[in-house]
Every structure is written in structure tokens, then in C-alpha cells.
């Protein structure tokens, strides 16, 4: 791979992320992230304003460092979390991918997502939807995710939302 990040390459990475989450291939999911990756889902200040400064405002999730995502994966697999066992079935749909900036080192994308979730245990289906912003970088011969922001629009959470359903 050489040259600036293309939209096709960016889309390929975003769709791959969706697929490995849907399949529950979480080791492959973690591999898509750099070790110092930022994973951020803001909360909302009011009806229209998401929080913007994770150090002084609350987020739904804010991690700096892939290690934290590894903790989340470990927990979901541990068998020690009733909320994570049995897992709901999920399918991510990522659309409207726009490459907002790109060069040889990386680029930024904006996209829209819906995650359909069916929790067989509670006999409940739900759709989480919103927008993603990905910062992709070139690392070890592949494009990887250095930062992902998940702007969840329907933020009245029905019981549980976790990394695999956003």
C-alpha cells in the first residue's frame, strides 16, 4: 500500500470493523486499533448538544488506549457478567461514508451507522443509530483506527449498550 488513503480503503476498514463486531471476532476487532487509540462516545448536555470535552464533561464511554478496549472484551467474554451472557445478536450497517481529509499518513472519515440488536433473553429488539468519525492512520503496513468517535443519537439507553452494539 502506498499513496494517500482512498475512500475505498477507508470504507473497507469501516465495513471490516462492522463485520468483525457482528461476528463476535473481537480479537480481530482489537487488531484494527492502534495501541494508543481513542474510543469515545459522548453523552448529551441537552436535547441538541453533545458533550465535547471528555476531561470536563461526561461521556458514555471514553478511553485513551486500546488496553481499555481489551478490558471490555475480556469482561464480555469472562462469563462473570450477566449482562454479557448470553450476548445479543447484532448487525452494524455503516453508510454515507465521506472521506473528509486524507494523505499518506492517514485520514478522517465521517459516516452514519445503525446497529440492529436482538436480545433473545429479554425478547427485545432495538436500533442504536448515529454518526461515526474515524481517524485512520497507516501503521505496520495497514490502515488502522487511531480514534473513533461514536455520536449516539438515541441516547435513552434500554438497559445496556456496549462496545459490540454501537
Amino acid at each position: 500500500m502506498s499513496g494517500p488513503l482512498t475512500r475505498a480503503e477507508a470504507e473497507d476498514l469501516l465495513y471490516r470493523e462492522a463485520l468483525v463486531l457482528d461476528r463476535g471476532e473481537w480479537d480481530a476487532w482489537l487488531e484494527l486499533y492502534t495501541t494508543d487509540a481513542i474510543f469515545w462516545m459522548p453523552a448529551w448536555r441537552d436535547e441538541v448538544t453533545p458533550t465535547s470535552d471528555p476531561d470536563s464533561e461526561l461521556s458514555l464511554i471514553y478511553y485513551r488506549g486500546r488496553r481499555n478496549l481489551e478490558d471490555r472484551v475480556w469482561r464480555a467474554r469472562s462469563g462473570m457478567s450477566v449482562a454479557s451472557s448470553p450476548l445479543p445478536r447484532v448487525v452494524h450497517a455503516v453508510t454515507n461514508v465521506v472521506l473528509e481529509s486524507a494523505d499518506e499518513t492517514g485520514g478522517r472519515t465521517a459516516s452514519s451507522f445503525t446497529v440492529h440488536l436482538h436480545d433473545r433473553r429479554s425478547e427485545r429488539s432495538h436500533v442504536f443509530f448515529g454518526r461515526y468519525e474515524h481517524h485512520l492512520v497507516h501503521h505496520d503496513g495497514a490502515w488502522r483506527i487511531a480514534a473513533k468517535k461514536i455520536l449516539l443519537l438515541n441516547d435513552v439507553i434500554p438497559t445496556v449498550v456496549d462496545f459490540y452494539s454501537i
Binding site: 453523552a43 458533550t51 461526561l58 461521556s59 475480556w74 469482561r75 469472562s78 449482562a83 439507553i157
Partner: protein
């Protein structure tokens, strides 16, 4: 309507050592309707904190039972609570969560109210051919029949037939002081509220906050993650307040904490944490001891889960959370939650508090989902009338003592009952306070 008797719902026979609660009180829709009328729409309900409407003309909205409520600060700085409903046709006047407005204009027919609730305009009044009788009626927003503030905690009631707010809070007010006194400037809500629902009864949240027994059973995955982080600490993971305490391992010896029960259904369970630098409050440890004395300072650092019956909980354990419980139906509850913090803390302490909060308290975190999914499992089980009595109110019965103990004395606080416990006692008698108040409020609506 519910045709059964109170004695079929709560069996309270202290002389025989019996306290049992029926599954029906969580599951029966008629009982839910009575709870709305007798508890949520007829008594003191927590509305918010004063700093949510800090400046002149600031306002925020909330609900009391099923009723929309508007809290405003008028131009003179006085707080007011109103039913958020236009006297004209009943529409909500303010529709947003919070804001600043000198005038509130009803979006339906433009009746206009100032921030003190006074009607300032009825559109086309002169041309309206109103009768004299209309002119003699108040067109102001209806004030809440009871409204008050204690140390920045704002309460209201849809009934005037309530004790004073001071009497309602009673000795539990001293536990609100422990929150309010963490800063000379008072406390605030960190921007960004989180709302979630669960498909189970509101009293499951009431109980879970006070439930020391579930922690190592429901949250082992969270505990293991903390242990792992502690072993391999680096800058990418947040310090845990549990690091310097063996409270949660269930293996500590001696007095690990306990519970206090108060009149009107308020309860606290607590654990000894010690003055740990993992707590964001650590930067103020000396200052707080100088100002309030060492004993009260130490209490501020203890783990504390406080319920002010029926809808306010302040949990200071993994971080600091203010929760408002909003029952939607017998089987569905909405939780509105915020990180509550002392004003003026350092940016680093605030950041640490927020990170600790997100991991533990959020519905997107590593602990709360394991609670709420358990509530839903309970709710399923509550459908059974085969053996209606639940057995979860029995731990601590021989340890519960009338009055306080040396730890409450340190605060000058006199609870109705107290339990001192080691790590494994996990008192359940503090729930009795919830259900005795529940029974007191429901008496008359349900046959004795």
C-alpha cells in the same frame, strides 16, 4: 383496583423476627397506580439541584410522578417550582430540559409567564369577551403546593399535606451535608446527563443502591478488571477507589461498614475506604479536616450509598453519582443520572472522577448493566404467586440496633436503627425502612 390487604403485601412482625415483602408489590399494575397517587404525587420528591438553575431566569424541567414540573429562578434569585402546564389548555409551557428565559411563552396559544410564574399576557385579552368571573381567576402557573431547598437539593410536592422539608429529611439531612460540604462553593452536576431505562419495577433500583450483598456476585467482571489494572498500572487506565480498600473482597476483618435507617424511608449503607489518593477528593483531605474536623472528613471519604425516599439516590463509591428514579409502569423504570462533584476541584481530580464514573455507573460501563439485567430477571420472577413472599429482607436481623453507634455519633447523627457489619454481613434490614414508609403512605389506599 387492588383488592388485597396490606398484610398480604408486607409482613412486618419484629417480635417474631419476620419481615417479608410480597412479589405483588413489584408486579401489580393497580399497586403501581396507587404508588403514583400516594407516594410520588402526594409527598416530597427530589426535583434537582439548585445549581441547575444558578443564574437569574435559569430554569430546568423534571417530573413528579406523572406530572411535568418546571423549576425556575426568578429575577430576584428566588427558586420556584410550578406544574409545567398552561392554565389555559394544559399544554406544557417549557419543553426543554434546561435553559434561561425571562418569559415562558406557551407554544400553543401564546399565554406568557415570567420566571416567577406570573401571567404577563393573555393573547388578544381585550378582544376576547371574557366574563368577570374569568378576570377574578388566577392565570398564573400553578405553584407546587410544597417546595423547598436544603443545601442546594431542591424538593417539591404535589400535595400541601406534607411535613416540613426539614422534618421529611430528618437526621438523613446530615448525609446530604457530607455531599454539600465537600466544597465551600457547594456541588454541581458535571455537564452531560445519562438516561436509561430498565424493564423492571422502580423499587429494584431503590433496593440495589443499598444492597451490599450483590456486589461480589453481580460485579466480579468489574472487580477482576480493576485488579488487572492495578497490577499493570499505567497512564492509560484510571485509578480505582477500591484499590486501597478490601471492602469489596469480602475478606476484610473487623468493622467494614454498616447501615443506617431513618424515618420517612431514607437509608444509608456505607463502607470504610480510608483517605486514599485514588479518590478525587484527596486533594482536599487536609483542608476538609481543618474546616469540618477529622471525623466528618473521614466520613466524606467513606463509601456511601444514600437514598432519600422515594426518588433520590447519591452513590459515592467508585465515583460520585446522583440518580433520579422515575417509575414509568410497574415493569418499567427510567433512571436519570449525573456525575455530582464539588465545585472548584482541580481539573485533574475532575478528570479522574469522570473516568471512574463512566466505567462503573454508565449503562455503557462495566457494572450498571449487570445490575439492571438482574432487576429484569427479578421482574420475570415476580410474576409468580406460587410462593409470593421474598426472603431478601432477613440478613442482619439480629445485628440491627435501635439508634446510632460510634460512627453516627461522629457526625452528631441519630438514625432510627443501625447495623455495624463486617464485610460479609451485608445487612438487609435497611430495606425495612423503605417498606415501612411505603406501608405508611399506602395505608388507606390499600385495606389494612
Amino acid at each position: 383496583m387492588f383488592q388485597g390487604r396490606l398484610a398480604e403485601l408486607i409482613e412486618d412482625r419484629p417480635d417474631d423476627g419476620v419481615f417479608r415483602v410480597s412479589r405483588a408489590i413489584f408486579d401489580d399494575p393497580d399497586i403501581f397506580t396507587l404508588e403514583m397517587r400516594r407516594i410520588f404525587e402526594a409527598g416530597w420528591i427530589f426535583l434537582g439541584i439548585a445549581s441547575q438553575a444558578a443564574a437569574a431566569h435559569d430554569f430546568f424541567t423534571t417530573t413528579v410522578g406523572r406530572v411535568p414540573v418546571l423549576v425556575t429562578r426568578d429575577g430576584t434569585g428566588q427558586l420556584h417550582g410550578f406544574v409545567n402546564s398552561c392554565p389555559h389548555k394544559g399544554s406544557r409551557v417549557a419543553q426543554v430540559m434546561q435553559g434561561n428565559a425571562r418569559l415562558h411563552v406557551c407554544p400553543y396559544h401564546s399565554w406568557t409567564f415570567d420566571s416567577a410564574g406570573q401571567n404577563k399576557a393573555i393573547k388578544w385579552k381585550k378582544a376576547g369577551c371574557y366574563s368577570e368571573g374569568f378576570d377574578q381567576t388566577s392565570h398564573n402557573l400553578a405553584p407546587l403546593p410544597a417546595f423547598g431547598e436544603y443545601r442546594g437539593f431542591v424538593f417539591g410536592s404535589l400535595s400541601a399535606d406534607v411535613p416540613s422539608l426539614t422534618d421529611h429529611l430528618g437526621e438523613a439531612a446530615k448525609l446530604l451535608d457530607l455531599v454539600a460540604d465537600q466544597s465551600d462553593e457547594g456541588m454541581e452536576l458535571v455537564p452531560g446527563g445519562v438516561t436509561f431505562t430498565y424493564d423492571a419495577n422502580w423499587k429494584l433500583q431503590l433496593e440495589n443502591c443499598s444492597d451490599a450483598y450483590h456486589f461480589t456476585s453481580a460485579h466480579p467482571s468489574y472487580i477482576r478488571v480493576l485488579e488487572q489494572r492495578q497490577k499493570q498500572a499505567d497512564d492509560s487506565v484510571v485509578k480505582s477507589v477500591f484499590e486501597n480498600s478490601d471492602y469489596w473482597t469480602g475478606e476484610s476483618e473487623g468493622v467494614a461498614g454498616g447501615s443506617y435507617s431513618f424515618a420517612h424511608g431514607h437509608v444509608l449503607n456505607w463502607g470504610r475506604f480510608g483517605i486514599s489518593e485514588a479518590l478525587p477528593l484527596y486533594e482536599r483531605a487536609d483542608q476538609l479536616a481543618q474546616k469540618h474536623g477529622r471525623a466528618k472528613r473521614d466520613w466524606m471519604f467513606n463509601m456511601r450509598n444514600l437514598t432519600i425516599f422515594p426518588n433520590l439516590q447519591i452513590a459515592e463509591n467508585a465515583s460520585s453519582q446522583l440518580r433520579v428514579i422515575r417509575p414509568l409502569s410497574a415493569g418499567k423504570t427510567e433512571m436519570r443520572t449525573w456525575c455530582i462533584a464539588p465545585k472548584g476541584e482541580s481539573a485533574e481530580a475532575r478528570r479522574q472522577r469522570i473516568r471512574q464514573y463512566e466505567d462503573f455507573f454508565n449503562p455503557s460501563g462495566m457494572a450498571t448493566p449487570d445490575d439492571t439485567v438482574s432487576y429484569e430477571n427479578c421482574q420475570r420472577g415476580f410474576a409468580s404467586g406460587v410462593e409470593p413472599w421474598l426472603q431478601g429482607y432477613a440478613r442482619g436481623q439480629t445485628a440491627s440496633k435501635p439508634g446510632g453507634n460510634i460512627f453516627s455519633k461522629a457526625l452528631g447523627m441519630e438514625p432510627e436503627r443501625s447495623v455495624l457489619s463486617d464485610a460479609q454481613l451485608c445487612d438487609e434490614t435497611l430495606y425495612h425502612s423503605y417498606y415501612r414508609e411505603w406501608a405508611r403512605r399506602m395505608a388507606g389506599a390499600v385495606k389494612a
